[in-house]
């Protein structure tokens, strides 16, 4: 949640200010997390991190390749078989649904990635995603609003769980096709906080990597289960967590990940119990996109 500043961008671009600095300061201008602005398009990796992602040492990578060659080939064979003999789903009726994530075994819960701002030195919140006694996934932890004193971070307190990316054989990234469905169904119970559902897509170019589509899910608190239905048209475009002026419809054919974020401003413990997440087709939902998508005559920034 580091703040981004236009002011800073302009300052670092002008050559004059660079020359005024001592050579010691020079390093701080070039590669610092807070020097980055939203107006810079370059992304180093798909996670949007400044640092390089860890890579396996070559020796280990080679070893793993040979070890996994058999199972991966088998997977590849199955994929090809499915591609040539499997019958594709062409349409679904009203009310048909497909469960995409269930948490009825510990493995499915373990495969989700849990992040909190503590992991990125952005605060002191903690989070955990565990398999509960009721055979559900329990997303719980503590949201701490205390801002670290680094002079850059302005807000703190978030926790997130994200689904594993669909993978094909040989470690290739894959994607899901949601285009037959038009709403998201969730069975959950929470503690009265709002949570944000975040959908990510498998984009090719780096300017799109951090595009996410989000919509809040409101919990009522208490011991009763909630069945939440959110039309996919309601999801709004965000980039780097900021809502965008130019809205786009969720590209349903290249869905990559689904996450749930707890980042409301209430400090304290949070808990959200999730039973399953499904997709449904509802013929009564005719909206393509819930927000205005008109274009300005001169293609300038809308709003």
């Amino acid at each position: 949640m580091a703040s981004t500043s236009y002011c800073r961008l302009v300052a670092s671009r002008s050559f004059d200010s660079l020359l005024k600095r001592s050579p010691k300061d020079f390093g701080s201008v070039v590669a610092r997390r807070y020097e980055k602005s939203t107006a810079v398009f370059y992304e180093k990796n798909k996670k949007g991190l400044e640092r390089d992602l860890k890579r396996r040492p070559l020796k280990q990578a080679l070893k793993m390749t040979f070890q996994n060659l058999g199972p991966e080939l088998k997977l590849f064979y199955q994929e090809q078989k499915q591609a040539y003999t499997g019958f594709p789903l062409l349409s679904v009726d009203h009310g048909n649904y497909e469960v995409i994530y269930t948490f009825n075994d510990p493995e499915s819960v373990k495969s989700w990635a849990v992040t909190a701002d503590r992991d990125n030195d952005g605060g002191k919140s903690t989070a955990n995603f565990t398999f509960s006694k009721n055979r559900t996934g329990l997303f719980h932890g503590y949201l701490c609003k205390e801002v670290p004193k680094d002079g850059v971070t302005k807000y703190a307190g978030y926790a997130n769980i994200t689904s594993p990316k669909p993978m094909k054989s040989f470690g290739r990234e894959s994607q899901m096709d949601w285009s037959l469905f038009n709403c998201l169904l969730l069975r959950l119970r929470g503690d009265g906080r709002p949570y944000m559902i975040v959908i990510g897509c498998n984009f090719h170019y780096d300017i799109n990597w951090l595009n996410r589509w989000s919509y809040p899910v409101f919990t009522r608190g208490g011991p009763y289960w909630q069945h939440v239905k959110i039309p996919l048209s309601k999801f709004f475009t965000t980039h780097h967590g900021r809502i965008q002026d130019k809205q786009e419809f969720l590209p349903l054919k290249i869905i990559n990940s689904l996450g749930i974020t707890a980042a409301d401003s209430a400090e304290g413990p949070f808990s959200l119990e999730i039973d399953s997440i499904a997709l449904m087709n509802d013929v009564n939902l005719t909206d393509k996109h819930a927000y205005e998508m008109y274009e300005n005559k001169y293609y300038e920034v809308q709003c």
Binding site: Y6, C7, A11, R21, G141, G222, A266, G268, E273, E300
Partner: protein, 485 residues
Amino acid sequence: MGKASLRAGFCFSALYRHIQTTPPALQLTQKCANYCHRKFFLMSERFLSHKRHFHSSVILEDREQARHHKTDESLKERALLDKTGNSAVEQRPTSDLTTTEQVRPPKPVIEKTESSLPNHDPGRITEEQRRLERKADSLFQELIESRGANKETFMFAVKKFVDREGIYWRGAVEFIYAGMKEMENFGVLKDLDSYKALIQAFPEKKMIPRNAWQVEFMHYPRHQQCGIDMLEQMEHNGVIPDEAFGALLKNRFGGEAHVTRKYRRMLYWLPKFKNINPYPIPMELPTDPRQLALLALRRMSVDRESQYNVFEAEPEEDTFIASAQSPTQQHLIQQHNTEQPLFVEGPYPVYLRELRQNYFLLRAEPNINALMKKKQQEKAEENDENLFEWTNFFEDEKSSELRPILSVHEQDDSTILALSITGTNSKASAMSWVRCLERNNPKLARIPILFKIQTSAEAGQVDWGQQAVLGAPTNGKDFRQVALF
């Protein structure tokens, strides 16, 4: 060439068209066009008549000579000045190439951790800026001491600043940042009027960009960033700006600046998201804990028939028990087997926006027979084998067939029988709640009840009756704090 330059002029004007043309921007384009025309005419004249060309060139030469003379004279004057008096003090060589470096006073060293304002490079904070910050801070502190921290004082502080700095508007950014920081002390964090007052610490008209370049390259960047930060603070506190706020902003930054764009964005999105919560919470929560407890209970219980009661404790103790139970739940207790125990669990947290309360629940083990029956019925509905076993309309349809097998309270993990929020969240209060429930549920006295009350060290970890496993062991510190709260 003339044609090309004309085309260039046209392109420029087309470029400008996408931003609302302010008068200065228009002037600039016109000037450009005029210049092109004049050059074009000069050239055509040159081609048309040799004589005139000669004439004009002569004139040009004359002009250039005159200019040279002028510069010479000015040089002479300067030399004279140097000779007459203060030349010894400031001997400046005329050539630019040999300028001696000016000796500047050393820059004050300020540590990075000392950075005071957000979004500003700590290395570039000057001593003057720090002085202005201290001045702004002290203005607020003095007024808090003399008048107390309230909305009127805050308004007065802004008025005092405007009166004092109304001419040069020195330290406006520092004042506004100090004001933003102090808003919580003054209790005006969610008050639109105070934000309207605070934005008036910026001068009017001075910072309005005059052309497209100024707009895009962040005219008055520190001031605009300050404005953006202020709007973000409003956004975080759920304050939606109105037209009057926009007018104030437009008078200061113009209609196209980045701050104003942020304002327009907020005006577009925030009202859209204002009412999307299907379980709404009032903007201003009541201060009475009983009302708050009832609000949370109403939000939690799904049964519309639920009855809400507030049981008061003895007059010496100022505590209460708010309870929610529906007739269906009473009926379930009445039907409960006296050999099987009921459970009181809690306290589990429930939030009303930023406010946290804890609730207890009375529950029974799930009704497995009924659940199995429901599962079977669902399976039968899905099954296609009995597709042709239609019931014809001569058969009687029993009304009990349409009734749902399970009530909303009978969930597959437990049957919920009552909910409560108590003033103290203690085990004693939970026990007295059960005694209160016995008035409407006489059978409760005969059913064994187990209390699964979390100790204060664990409080806050909701696990629906399971052992909590939490991330890092250092967390314990946080949770103990919570327990105190």
